[in-house]
Symmetry: C2
Subunit: 103 residues, 2 copies
């Protein structure tokens, strides 16, 4: 599996809008086992995205999906920058839902 942990800095006042865009765009991405968008409680202009994919290839391929392309173009103007970014190799746990699952 392939994982990403990343912090995004958001244009002030646009955090809720960016979070909605990101969450709307995540459904039905082949190979996506987890994609969670969170507020940073210590910074009103920052969010965290944690992702798990069945492979790095699936993640890479998702970037060309129309829904993701649309989210990127809608979200880009709201992104002020990027903070910490860690790649991981998830081994297991709870909450790794295949795309089709309702979870």
């Amino acid at each position: 599996m392939y994982g990403l942990i990343g912090k995004m800095r958001v244009v002030p006042g646009q955090r809720d809008a960016l979070i909605s865009i990101l969450i709307e765009g995540v459904s039905g991405m082949p190979g996506c086992l987890s994609y969670i968008v969170a507020q940073d409680p210590t910074d009103p202009d920052a969010i965290w995205v944690t992702e798990v994919w069945d492979s790095q290839e699936s993640h890479q391929a998702s970037l060309s999906l129309p829904s993701v392309q649309q989210a990127i173009s809608r979200g880009k103007p709201l992104i002020a920058g990027f903070g910490e970014r860690f790649e991981t190799k998830p081994i297991g746990g709870h909450g790794l839902a295949a795309p089709g699952n309702a979870a």
Copy 2:
């Protein structure tokens, strides 16, 4: 929701053992929506744990569960230290499975 992103440094050679202990201990924790254990691909002695709970109280309560207490006592000798630690406020996404779900 309440989230945690944390890095653990592991006693050299014990990463697989610690990962197994952590993954074994995660099933059926009330309020746990996601608990994923991953290797750090850049450091053979480090792991990342990303968690999402329905509340901080659920997370706190989980620490007294027998299964978690057991995992902590088995895992403690294998933990060499802690790295980055970020608290988050998850808003939504994919892969947030209520404990009962098979995911």
